[in-house]
C-alpha cells in the first residue's frame, strides 16, 4: 500500500502528463474529450484518496522528492488540513472537467486552454501538498502562471489583456509578500521545512509582521478588499469552467495558505490578530457584495460575490483566532469549522453558478444581464440548477449556505464571553456587517436569477437560446445535489471536519453523528440546534399544502373580472424591470457613500424634442484613491529612472563601483 501522499503526487504527475498529452494531441479533434476525460478521472482518484485520508484519519504522511534546491529537496505532506483542501480542489476539478467535456467543444481555440488546464489543477494540488517554503512558493507561482495563461486564453477580446496584466502584477505582488513572510518564518538559520518553522519560536513583532504579510500575500490571491481589484477582471475573462475553478477553488487555496501559516506554523495567536482579520473580513464581505449588486455582467457579478464569501470566511477565521488567543477552545473550533464548512460550500455553489453563467454564455453569447431574460422557458434545467445555486449562496435553508453562515453566527454569539472590550464590541459589529452582507447577497441573487431567467427575452440571442449539452448539465446537477446534501446532512460534514479543527485548534466541535434525527448542535442543545432535514420537510410540506390550497380554492374557481394584461402594458421587452432598476433603492442607500453615486436627470427644455436622460455616475473608490495614485507614483519614478538607460559605459561602471564601495563601507562600519 503506497502512502496517501505518494498517491496524490502520482495524481499530480498524471495531470502533468495530461498537459504533455494536450500539447501532443493539440491538432487532433478528439483532444478536448481526451484531456477533460483524463483530468476528470485523475481528479476523481485524487478526490477519493483525499476523502479517504480525511475520513479514515490515517494521520500525516510525508514524502521527500530529490528535486528542487539540492540541499533541501521537495517535501510533501498530507495531513488533515491538506486532505480537506485536496477534497475541495479535486471536487471542483472533477466538476470542472466534466463540465469542460461539454463546454469545451464550443471553444474556438482549444489549444490555448487544454495544456494549461491540467497544469493549473496540478499547481493547486501541489500548493496544498507542499511541506517546505521553497516548494510552496514554487508551486504557488506555477499555479498563478498557469491560471494567468488561462485568463489570457481569449486574449483578443477587449479588456482581457488588461485583466491579464493586472492579474500578473497583483500575483507577483502577492508572491513577494509570501516570500518575505516565509523568509521571516524560517529566520536567519534558513529552516525552510514547515516542520522546522513550526518548532521555531517567533517573537510577537515577528508574528505580527508575518500575519500582515500573509494578509497581503494570501489576501491578494483570495480577494480581500482592497487587494481584490484583479479578481473581477480576471475571473470572468477566463473560460467559464476555469472561472469556476479560479473563483471556487483557487481562492480557497489562498485561504489554505493563510490557515497553514497563521494557525499552524506561527504558533499561538494574539487576540489583536483576530481583530485585524475580523475587520478586514467584515469590510470585504459588505463591499464585495455591494460591488456585485451594482454589476450587470453575470460573470463579474459572480466574481464580486466571491469577494463577499471570502470576507465571510476570513471573518470566521478571525473569530477563531480571537477565541483561540483567549483559550476558548470549543468556540474557536466552532468558528474554524464554520469557516472550513463555508469554504466547502462556496466551492460547490460558486462553481455551480459559474457553470450556469457559462451555459447561458454558450447558448446566448451574452454575459450582460440586461440583454438576457426569459431563459427559464428555453433552458429549464439550467434555470433550475442556477436557482438552487442562488438559493444556496443566499444562505437560505435547507441548502448548505445556510448551515455554514448559521454556524458562523453561532460563533459570533459566543463573543460576550471574551475578556477584551475591543472584541466584545467588535465581534457583534462585524456580526451585523455579516448579516447585512447576507441580506444584500440574497438581493443580489434575486437580481441575478430574476433578470437573467425570468421575464421576457431582452435580445434576439436570448430568445433563440436552447438547453445546453448533457455533460454540462451533469456537472451542474451533481453540484446542486451536493449543495442540497450538505444542507440537509450537515452533521456528516462537521464530523468529517473535526480532525482538521483538532489539528489546527486543538479542540473539535461535539460529535454530531449521535444526535437524533440528524440535528446539529454546535455548543449544547439548550442553546441552539438546527435540523436541515426537518426544515426541508417543513418547507416541502408547507409549500405543497399552499400550492394545493391555492390550486383547489383559488385558481380553479371561476371568477369574473376585467381582462388582465399580465402587467405588460408596453409590448417592448426593454420596458421590463431591469437589473439597474432593481438595485436602485440599494444604490441610493449605500452607493452614495461607497461608490459616490450621483444621479442626474437631463431634462430637455420645453419645446425641445429630444428625450430626457437619466444618468448615474459611479466611482470605484479603491481604484481612484489607492491604485491610481500608486500607478502614477510608479510612472513618475520609472520616468526618473529612465535616464539610467542612457549612461556612458564608464558611468555604468562607476555606478557598480560606487555601490560596491558603499556596501563595503556599510559592512566596515556595522560589523
Amino acid at each position: 500500500m503506497i502512502p496517501a501522499v505518494a498517491q496524490q503526487i502520482w495524481c499530480v504527475a498524471a495531470l502533468l502528463g495530461t498537459t504533455a498529452l494536450a500539447i501532443a494531441s493539440s491538432r487532433s479533434r478528439r483532444s478536448t474529450a481526451l484531456v477533460y476525460g483524463a483530468t476528470f478521472a485523475i481528479s476523481l482518484v485524487a478526490l477519493a484518496g483525499a476523502l479517504f485520508s480525511l475520513i479514515a484519519r490515517t494521520g500525516a504522511t510525508e514524502l521527500t522528492l530529490p528535486i528542487g534546491l539540492p540541499w533541501l529537496g521537495s517535501h510533501f505532506r498530507l495531513d488533515a488540513l491538506a486532505a480537506f483542501f485536496l477534497v475541495v480542489v479535486n471536487l471542483g476539478a472533477a466538476a470542472a472537467s466534466l463540465y469542460g467535456l461539454g463546454y469545451g467543444s464550443h471553444e474556438s481555440t482549444p489549444q490555448r486552454i487544454l495544456p494549461f488546464f491540467p497544469a493549473f489543477l496540478a499547481g493547486m494540488n501541489l500548493v496544498v501538498l507542499a511541506d517546505d517554503a521553497f516548494t510552496y512558493l514554487l508551486c504557488w507561482e506555477f499555479m498563478s502562471l498557469a491560471s494567468w495563461a488561462l485568463v489570457m486564453a481569449h486574449h483578443r477580446e477587449p479588456d482581457n489583456a488588461r485583466a491579464g496584466y493586472v492579474y500578473l502584477v497583483m500575483a507577483s505582488f502577492g508572491t513577494l509578500a509570501l516570500l518575505l513572510a516565509f523568509g521571516l518564518l524560517s529566520g536567519a538559520g534558513g529552516g525552510y521545512g514547515f516542520a522546522a518553522i513550526r518548532s521555531a519560536q517567533h517573537t510577537p513583532s515577528e508574528a505580527a509582521l508575518v500575519l500582515a504579510l500573509m494578509l497581503l500575500g494570501a489576501g491578494s490571491k483570495a480577494g480581500l478588499v482592497p487587494l481584490h481589484v484583479w479578481l473581477p477582471l480576471a475571473h470572468p475573462a477566463a473560460p467559464s469552467h476555469v472561472s469556476a475553478l479560479m473563483s471556487g477553488v483557487m481562492t480557497k487555496v489562498a485561504i489554505y495558505g493563510f490557515i497553514r501559516v497563521v494557525f499552524d506554523l506561527l504558533g499561538p495567536p494574539s487576540w489583536s490578530a483576530g481583530v485585524v482579520v475580523l475587520i478586514l473580513g467584515g469590510a470585504t464581505a459588505v463591499i464585495g457584495i455591494l460591488y456585485a449588486l451594482m454589476e450587470n455582467d453575470l460573470k463579474r457579478l459572480l466574481a464580486y460575490s466571491t469577494i463577499e464569501n471570502i470576507g465571510v470566511i476570513f471573518t470566521s477565521l478571525g473569530l477563531a483566532l480571537a477565541f483561540q488567543a483567549n483559550g476558548f477552545g470549543l468556540a474557536a473550533a466552532l468558528a474554524f469549522t464554520a469557516a472550513l464548512f463555508h469554504v466547502l460550500n462556496h466551492s460547490f455553489f460558486k462553481s455551480l453558478l459559474f457553470f450556469g453563467a457559462g451555459a447561458v454564455l454558450t447558448s446566448t453569447g451574452e454575459r450582460d444581464m440586461e440583454k438576457l431574460g426569459g431563459l427559464i422557458h428555453r433552458m429549464p434545467l439550467t434555470s433550475f440548477v442556477f436557482l438552487v445555486g442562488c438559493v444556496a449562496i443566499s444562505a437560505l435553508p435547507p441548502f448548505n449556505g445556510f448551515v455554514s453562515e448559521w454556524l458562523i453566527f453561532q460563533a459570533v454569539l459566543q463573543s460576550p464571553d471574551l475578556p477584551q472590550w475591543v472584541l466584545k464590541i467588535m465581534v457583534p459589529a462585524v456580526g451585523a456587517l455579516l448579516a447585512l452582507a447576507a441580506a444584500l447577497a440574497a438581493a443580489c441573487f434575486v437580481k441575478a436569477f430574476g433578470i437573467t431567467f425570468l421575464g421576457r427575452a431582452r435580445s434576439p440571442a436570448a430568445e433563440a437560446a436552447g438547453e445546453v449539452d448533457r455533460y454540462s448539465l451533469a456537472a451542474m446537477f451533481s453540484l446542486a445535489a451536493l449543495c442540497f446534501l450538505a444542507g440537509i446532512l450537515p452533521g456528516l460534514v462537521i464530523d468529517a471536519l473535526s480532525p482538521v479543527a483538532q489539528a489546527m485548534i486543538g479542540h473539535r466541535m461535539p460529535v454530531q453523528a449521535n444526535d437524533p434525527w440528524l440535528s446539529i448542535v454546535p455548543i449544547e442543545e439548550s442553546r441552539s440546534s438546527y435540523n436541515g432535514l426537518l426544515v426541508f420537510a417543513f418547507i416541502t410540506a408547507a409549500a405543497s399544502l399552499a400550492v394545493y390550497f391555492i390550486h383547489r380554492f383559488a385558481s380553479r374557481a371561476i371568477r369574473r373580472g376585467p381582462a388582465w394584461g399580465c402587467g405588460f402594458a408596453d409590448p417592448t421587452p426593454a420596458a421590463q424591470y431591469s437589473g439597474a432598476s432593481f438595485v436602485q433603492p440599494i444604490r441610493r442607500v449605500f452607493g452614495t457613500l461607497v461608490f459616490q453615486a450621483r444621479e442626474h436627470v437631463d431634462m430637455p427644455a420645453p419645446g425641445d424634442l429630444r428625450p430626457a436622460r437619466f444618468k448615474v455616475d459611479m466611482h470605484d473608490l479603491v481604484w481612484e484613491r489607492l491604485y491610481t495614485p500608486l500607478t502614477e507614483a510608479v510612472w513618475f519614478l520609472a520616468d526618473r529612472l529612465n535616464q539610467l538607460q542612457f549612461l556612458t559605459i564608464r558611468r555604468y561602471l562607476s555606478l557598480v563601483f560606487a555601490t560596491l564601495v558603499t556596501l563595503l563601507l556599510v559592512l566596515a562600519i556595522w560589523s
Binding site: 556612458t648 559605459i649 564608464r650 563601483f657 560596491l660 563595503l664 559592512l667 566596515a668 560589523s671
Partner: protein
C-alpha cells in the same frame, strides 16, 4: 621558516598592490601595458610561492598560466593592437591623477579595515592575502572607472582578475579547476573585447568609448 614564508608572501602580495597603484598613475598606454605585465609576473611569483609553502603543486600550473598568458601573451597582443590602431600616443585623463591616487589609498584602507576585521578567525597568511587581494580588485575597478580608452579598461579588468586569482590561491584547498576556468574566462574576455575593439575601429575610427556615446547621441 614559517615567519620567512609569511614575510615573502606578504611582500609579494603587497608588491601587487603597489603595482596596482603604478597602474593608476600611468596615463600612457604602452607604459600601462608594461606595468600590467609586471603585475602579472608578480602575481605569478606570488602564486608560485603559495604553491611552495602550501605544498600544492597544482598551483604551479596557475602560476605558469599567469606568467605565460597574462605577463607575456596578452601584453604583447595588446601592444600589437595599439600599434595597429595607431593610438600609442594617446594620453588619457578622464579623472586627474591626484584624486585618483587619493581614492586608491582610501580603497586600500577600506579593504584592510574590512578584511582584517571580518576574517578574525582565519589563519594570518590568508587574512593578509585576502586584504591585499580585495585592494587589488578595488584598484582594478578604479582603473576601469577612471579610464576612457577601451584598452586601458581591458587592462583594468584584467588586473582586477589578478586580484581574484590572488585571493583564490591565498585560501588553502581551492581546486585547480576554478583557476583554469577563471584564466580561460579572462582570455575569452580579452578575445571578445579585442574583436570588439576592431569593430569600433572600423566604424568610428577610434577606440575611445566616448565615440559610442556620440554615436548614440548622448552627451557625457
Amino acid at each position: 621558516m614559517h615567519n620567512l614564508a609569511f614575510d615573502i608572501a606578504h611582500l609579494l602580495a603587497g608588491g601587487l598592490v603597489l603595482i596596482s597603484f603604478m597602474m593608476l598613475y600611468q596615463d600612457r598606454l604602452y607604459a600601462l601595458l608594461n606595468i600590467f605585465a609586471l603585475h602579472a609576473a608578480v602575481l605569478a611569483a606570488s602564486v608560485a610561492w603559495q604553491a611552495f609553502i602550501q605544498n600544492a603543486p597544482h598551483l604551479y600550473v596557475t602560476a605558469a598560466i599567469a606568467l605565460v598568458f597574462k605577463a607575456i601573451v596578452i601584453p604583447v597582443a595588446l601592444h600589437r593592437i595599439i600599434k595597429q590602431l595607431g593610438i600609442h600616443r594617446d594620453i588619457e585623463t578622464a579623472v586627474s591623477i591626484g584624486p585618483t591616487m587619493l581614492a586608491g589609498m582610501g580603497l586600500v584602507a577600506l579593504s584592510m579595515v574590512l578584511m582584517l576585521r571580518v576574517t578574525g578567525a582565519a589563519d594570518p597568511l590568508a587574512r593578509e592575502d585576502l586584504a591585499f587581494a580585495l585592494s587589488v580588485v578595488l584598484l582594478g575597478l578604479l582603473v576601469m572607472v577612471t579610464r576612457r580608452n577601451a584598452v586601458s579598461q581591458v587592462v583594468g579588468f584584467m588586473s582586477l582578475e589578478n586580484g581574484l586569482v590572488l585571493a583564490a590561491t591565498g585560501a588553502k584547498g581551492m581546486p585547480l579547476v576554478v583557476e583554469i576556468s577563471v584564466a580561460f574566462s579572462i582570455l575569452i574576455a580579452f578575445i571578445v573585447i579585442g574583436v570588439f575593439l576592431f569593430r569600433i575601429r572600423e566604424r568610428f575610427d577610434t577606440v575611445d568609448v566616448g565615440a559610442l556615446d556620440e554615436f548614440r547621441g548622448e552627451r557625457r
